[in-house]
Amino acid sequence: MKDKADIYFNGKRIGEAAQPDLYVANVRKKRRMGLLSIQLNAVYYPEFREVRISTDAGRVRRPLIIVENGKSRLTEAVRAKVDAGQADWSFLVAHGIVEYLDAEEEENALVALREDQIGKDHTHVEIDPISLLGLSAGLIPYPEYNRGDRINYGAKMVGQSIGVPTGNYLLRTDTKFNALAYPQVPLVETKTSKVLSEFPEGQNIVIAVGCYDGYNMEDAVILNKSSIQRGLARSFYFRTYETLKKRYWGGQEDAIQIPEPGIKGFRGEDAYKDLDADGIINPMSFVTSDSVLVGKISPLRFLTTEEFASDIENKRETSVTIKHGERGLVDTIFISETTDADQLFKIRIRDARQPELGDKFASRHGQKGVVGLLVNQEDMPFTGRGVVPDIIFNPHAIPSRMTIGQLLEIIAAKTGALNGETVDASAFDHMKDEDIRKLLKRLGFRDDGKEVLYDGRTGKAFTVRIYVGISFYMKLDHMVTDKIHARSRGPVTLLTKQPTEGRAKRGGLRIGEMEQQCLIGHGAALTLKERFDSDKAFMPVCTKCGMIATHDVAKNRTFCSICKESSIQWVETSYAFKLTLDEIKSMGVYPNVQVEEL
């Protein structure tokens, strides 16, 4: 055991301390007095007998109120000063009332959650219990009633929600973004969501916890079709396309116009019919995959000799088109100029999206699901008061995940809706659950939140009472329209003649090695061959030398360029194998293909 503790400064050993506790206390004292940088953090690890002092970048630090001798340094006097506007944040930091701790120094700290919980060993107190959570997790109501991992998932999904991206999004030209049509402030708020009330991320909807013919099994949800038609979870998808009218060496430049026939890459008259006379599409025109937005022609590259400069055949078509699989209305057209004085065109496309089967939704408690069924309002269940739920959520999602916070939110929002006010559900600091239930009872409902529901199709009451209330729901940025994909015929890659990969390239779904093994395992040899026919090719093989022969299409003649003979057999193989033979040849190895008559 070392008798003295090592001191490390930003990872470099700088000395020793005989009494490391005192040493670290001293460093902190000096920092609080302003003699050392407030960005400095010191920690003592008794198990290693090491003191570590860090001032380097990249440490996550958070502010806490300092506690001394069981008393918060944020005294009544300081509070009064803050209230009077005589002290601001920097005052609190400079006067050693608030300090920032990094992850290491937190190891030496004992932080009280609230001022009334401060004991004699506490070194700090939270500014507010909600400051334990970050921005996204801070938006979750009743978080302490949920399991920790659900808060994580919830925070992650809040980040994927479609809401109000910025205050000025109609003036912006981001490449792509989503915006909710009718955003609402959550009925069950937290301190964080109050701050972000101008940027809500979802809507308050009526939720019933139950089943409906099994269409919400495995986390699916059932939506009220009529609610959707009234605008529930309707969102807009914006994408901005841009192009430059460039100028090149030799005085040539791009032209923004409707391309004329004869230009290299001309798409046909029909493709340009939506363009205005200036070559730019009109606002409010409907565009789909591969529609032209801006007609543009550019000079051919590497061809700058003057004799060709004006020749129309030496121009190529470089119009801007809609990405494959996307659609929408032309929303706004921005015409501007770059710093190089090239004309800049930005066309923003807007696509209104109603929720559809397969779109992803989530509450704020890490409970996500996709739409499994849209039901007309008349077929939805209804309460005795005539309330029809917007969403039917499967009760099986609750027991294993233990998101009690969500159940609380549902009844809290119910009281809020009946009272006409929002309910605060910030972490560790809100109305007790018994009080919510009492309030609900006083408002004329059962205190457990359950109600008798009637089946919309038969009019009969369900034999069980069903948990009904209001919940804040988010539409997440994972919509089927962006993902749906199928292929029958389509493009192939140049090298292997096999189908392309990925939705953007209209690709196929690969039968991979393991899928191939499955077909072999079933002994389905002929199915297997058919599956791999995508790059089927016929190659002429010289029966004499076994090399791939030449087929002259123009003269309709097949011959071996080595043997100069025409004893040729056509062989069916995959193109990939022909390529392999070519590659083997490039190694200097002679692959002799010997063909037998079947």
């Binding site: 395992g521 002994g523 002679y590």
Partner: protein, 383 residues
């Protein structure tokens, strides 16, 4: 390809029995427990035979692929579960995925070789078994030495012997000088002092010599670091950490007909390939069973057979089964493409395209399952 048709499905009866002996016995046992009228009995037997025939693999069914899938699916489960056992206390025997890799890669030195030594009936007393166990355990000089000193002036390593320990091990201190075989030294014992002198008077070797002395073998079987005597199924057995079958078989009282090792290569070396095959099966089955995974033994049998067909133990993979396949194209498609193509070119190898993989490569019907058969017919009027 047409000669594959000649493979008639192999079926019982063999030796006049309508079912394999085990199933025949099970049927008899069942009938003994619950007798039934002869008519019902005949129906029952017929039904058993039907079920048996249905579960037989059909001709040309690719059992190899099914084996691979049946073994690797639970193996992926193992990968996910292995980490949960990290840091568990107890005698550490390699288990789970690392052990499976050891078996299938046919590693010559498994990480934790162990033995289960059975004792002959005549020696089944605790005293006897304990003595045998003592003779198995590897005793090093460090186990009987209480302190070591390097004497620079006299150029020797001086050790103090732990005499009671030596006595309990039944080693005479005088004999110890002969037991310790250390190269280029002279070993003498005087009372409780053991002296090791290097033949060349050179003090530079002394430090190294000290450790050679400490690690030198005194008694027992080398590399068997632990022995545990325990009673299993009513008889005394010795479980060891470390394995050396050959030496153990030479000991008096050891039942060499049942004594086992988990070192597959050692079993193969000492007892031959059939025992080696059996060891592969046992070890694989044990590893799977220990993890709570259930697979049919026949898959393991097939795998073990494949590893042992050539009379030695071949690993699965680059230097074994996959790397020694007949078709150069198949070898090239597995690993080390360039090596196999150049080697095939130098030898002038010919690929007859009889296997599955090669035919898939060139997009021909593979001779497996439905592809193993061809229609053979004669068109009237044509020869």
């Amino acid at each position: 390809m047409s000669d594959t048709i000649a493979h008639a499905p192999l079926r019982w009866p063999v030796n006049g029995q309508s079912l394999p002996p085990k199933i025949e016995q099970d049927v008899k046992d069942y009938l003994a427990r619950s007798p039934m009228p002869p008519e019902r009995e005949r129906e029952f037997r017929e039904r058993v035979r039907e079920i048996y025939e249905r579960i037989l693999y059909s001709p040309e069914e690719p059992v190899g692929v099914v084996t691979a899938q049946s073994l690797s699916e639970p193996a992926t489960q193992m990968t996910m579960r292995t980490y949960h056992f990290a840091g568990t206390a107890g005698i550490q025997v390699t288990l789970g995925l690392p052990r499976m890799l050891e078996i299938f890669d046919a590693r010559k030195d498994p990480r934790t070789p162990t033995m289960k030594v059975y004792i002959k009936k005549e020696y089944q007393t605790l005293d006897h078994v304990k003595r045998i166990a003592e003779n198995i355990k590897d005793i090093r000089a460090k186990d009987v030495i209480s302190s070591v000193l390097i004497d620079m002036t006299d150029v020797l390593v001086k050790c103090r012997l732990n005499l009671p320990k030596l006595q309990s091990l039944e080693v005479d201190p005088e004999r110890l000088s002969k037991l310790l075989k250390i190269r280029n030294t002279a070993v003498t014992v005087e009372g409780d002092a053991l002296m090791v002198r290097p033949k060349k008077k050179d003090i530079t070797v002394l430090h190294k010599l000290k450790y050679t002395v400490l690690e030198s073998h005194v008694k027992g079987i080398k590399d068997i670091s632990q022995v545990v005597v325990s009673k299993e199924d009513g008889e005394w057995v010795i479980n060891t950490l470390g394995s050396n079958l050959k030496k153990v078989f030479e000991l008096e009282g050891v039942d060499y007909t049942r004594t086992r090792s988990n070192n597959i290569f050692e079993v193969y070396d000492v007892l031959g390939i059939e025992a080696g095959r059996e060891a592969i099966v046992r070890e694989t089955a044990f590893t799977m069973d220990e993890q709570g995974l259930v697979i049919d033994v026949r898959y393991i049998l097939l795998l073990a057979d494949t590893m042992c067909v050539e009379g030695g133990i071949k690993p699965i993979g680059r230097y074994g089964i996959s790397g020694q396949k007949a078709s150069p194209l198949v070898r090239a498609s597995f690993e080390e493409t360039k090596k196999h193509i150049t080697a095939a070119a130098v030898k002038g190898e010919r690929d007859p395209f009889v296997g599955t993989v090669e035919n898939i490569m060139v997009n021909q019907v593979a001779p497996i399952g439905t592809g193993a058969y061809e229609l053979v017919g004669r068109i009237p009027g044509k020869k």
